[in-house]
C-alpha cells in the first residue's frame, strides 16, 4: 500500500515532534490510518510489533519502567482489548503511555467500526483517560498537552487520530 505525499509529510513532522519530546519506544498493532507513521518507524528499525493491543500496552509499560518514554499505536477496535490493562495496570500503577488510537467509525465507515466509533471517546472518558482529537495542523500542540498531562498525572493519554492524517 502507498501513502500520499501529504501522509508522509505529516508522519515525518509528527515523528520529529515525538523525538523532540523524548518519546523513544514504539510498539502497537497496525491500522491503515497510521500507515505512513508505521512505515517510517519500521524503516528506522525502532518499532516493536505486538500481536494484540493490550500486549502492546504491556510492553510499552515495561519500557516505561525501564526508563523509556513509550508510544502505542493502534486502531480504536483494540481499545476493547486494552480496557483491562489500562484500568488494572496503567491507571493504578501510574504508568503513563502515549496512545495513538485511530478514530475509525467517525463518519461513514464499515459496519464493524460503527459501535466503537461512536463509543470510544465516552469509553476513555468513563475510565478516566484523557484524550483529544487533534486536527492535522494541531498535532504538535496536542502532543505538548498530552506530554504535560502525562507528566502531571502519571497516567496514559490518548490522541485519537482521524482518517487522512497519516493514511486513509
Amino acid at each position: 500500500m502507498h501513502w500520499s505525499a501529504q501522509h508522509t509529510d505529516n508522519a515525518a513532522r509528527f515523528l520529529s515532534d515525538l523525538d523532540r519530546s523524548g518519546y523513544d519506544f514504539f510498539t502497537g498493532v497496525p491500522c491503515s490510518l497510521l500507515g505512513a507513521l508505521l512505515e517510517r518507524l519500521s524503516g528506522d528499525g525502532r518499532y516493536y510489533p505486538a500481536v494484540r493491543e493490550d500486549a502492546a500496552i504491556g510492553m510499552a509499560s515495561g519500557a516505561y519502567l525501564a526508563g523509556r518514554r513509550p508510544v502505542v499505536l493502534m486502531q480504536n477496535s483494540g481499545l476493547g482489548y486494552s480496557l483491562n490493562v489500562l484500568t488494572s495496570l496503567n491507571l493504578i500503577y501510574k504508568i503513563p503511555v502515549l496512545c495513538l488510537i485511530t478514530y475509525r467509525g467517525q463518519g461513514p465507515d464499515a459496519p464493524e467500526h460503527w459501535v466503537m466509533g461512536r463509543s470510544c471517546e465516552a469509553l476513555l472518558r468513563d475510565i478516566g483517560i484523557r484524550a483529544s482529537v487533534p486536527a492535522p495542523d494541531g498535532l504538535a500542540q496536542a502532543l505538548q498537552e498530552a506530554t504535560r498531562s502525562m507528566k502531571e498525572t502519571g497516567e496514559p493519554y490518548a490522541l485519537l487520530i482521524q482518517r487522512g492524517i497519516f493514511g486513509a
Binding site: 500481536v51 504491556g58 510492553m59 495496570l89 493504578i92
Partner: protein, 185 residues
C-alpha cells in the same frame, strides 16, 4: 514441589535482576518469600507479566529480566511467546509455575495439563525451553538461563499448595512502580 517451594529455590539465585510476578497467588507467595525494590508484583491485568517483562528487557538491554508467570496467565496471553521469540529478546528469562489450574480462584483446571507450554515456547523461537519437576533441576536450569542468551523458557511443574494463601500485596501499586523504576536506574 509446590509454588512456594519453587519460589524459595528460585529467588535466592537473583542478585539485582528485575523480576515481574504474575497476578494472584504467584505475586502474593513471592512477596511472602522475599521482597526487593527490583520486584514488580502485579495485581490485576492477568496475562501481562510476559509483555511487561519483554518491554523492560527491550527498554533496557544488557541485564536479565525475569518474568514469573503462571500457566493460566501464559495461556491468556499466548501471543507474548512468539513476540519474545521472534524479537529474540535475549535478556528475557520466562519462568512458568505450572500447577495446571487457576489456583487463586479455587483451583479450576487449566489446559496446561494437555498442552506442553514449553513446546509452545520452543516453537515460538525461544532459544531454550525446558521443563523441570524438582527443586535441584529448577536451580540448575534457572542458573543456566541467567547466564545464557535468551529468551529462555522454564516450565516448572508444581503441585497445588494446601496451606493458607499468602497475604495480599502490601505495597500500594504506585509505590511498586516508583521503587521498581528507581531500582532499574
Amino acid at each position: 514441589m509446590n509454588a512456594r517451594q519453587a519460589l524459595e529455590a528460585l529467588l535466592p539465585l537473583l542478585d539485582d535482576e528485575p523480576a515481574v510476578f504474575a497476578t494472584g497467588y504467584i505475586a502474593r507467595t513471592a512477596q511472602a518469600v522475599r521482597r526487593r525494590p527490583q520486584d514488580f508484583h502485579m495485581i490485576g491485568s492477568m496475562g501481562m507479566v510476559s509483555s511487561l517483562a519483554t518491554g523492560v528487557a527491550l527498554g533496557r538491554p544488557g541485564r536479565k529480566v525475569i518474568a514469573v508467570d503462571g500457566d493460566g496467565a501464559v495461556l491468556m496471553n499466548l501471543g507474548a511467546l512468539p513476540t519474545a521469540g521472534a524479537l529474540r529478546v535475549s535478556d528475557l528469562v520466562h519462568v512458568c509455575l505450572d500447577n495446571e489450574s487457576y489456583e487463586s480462584t479455587g483451583a479450576q483446571a487449566s489446559y496446561s495439563a494437555a498442552v506442553a507450554l514449553e513446546s509452545v515456547a520452543a516453537a515460538s523461537g525461544y532459544r531454550s525451553a525446558v521443563r523441570v519437576t524438582d527443586a535441584d533441576s529448577l536451580r540448575r536450569e534457572f542458573g543456566r538461563a541467567l547466564t545464557s542468551e535468551g529468551p529462555s523458557f522454564l516450565l516448572v511443574k508444581v503441585s497445588l499448595d494446601d496451606g493458607p494463601a499468602a497475604p495480599r500485596i502490601e505495597a500500594a501499586p504506585e509505590r511498586i512502580t516508583a521503587d521498581f523504576k528507581a531500582a532499574l536506574r
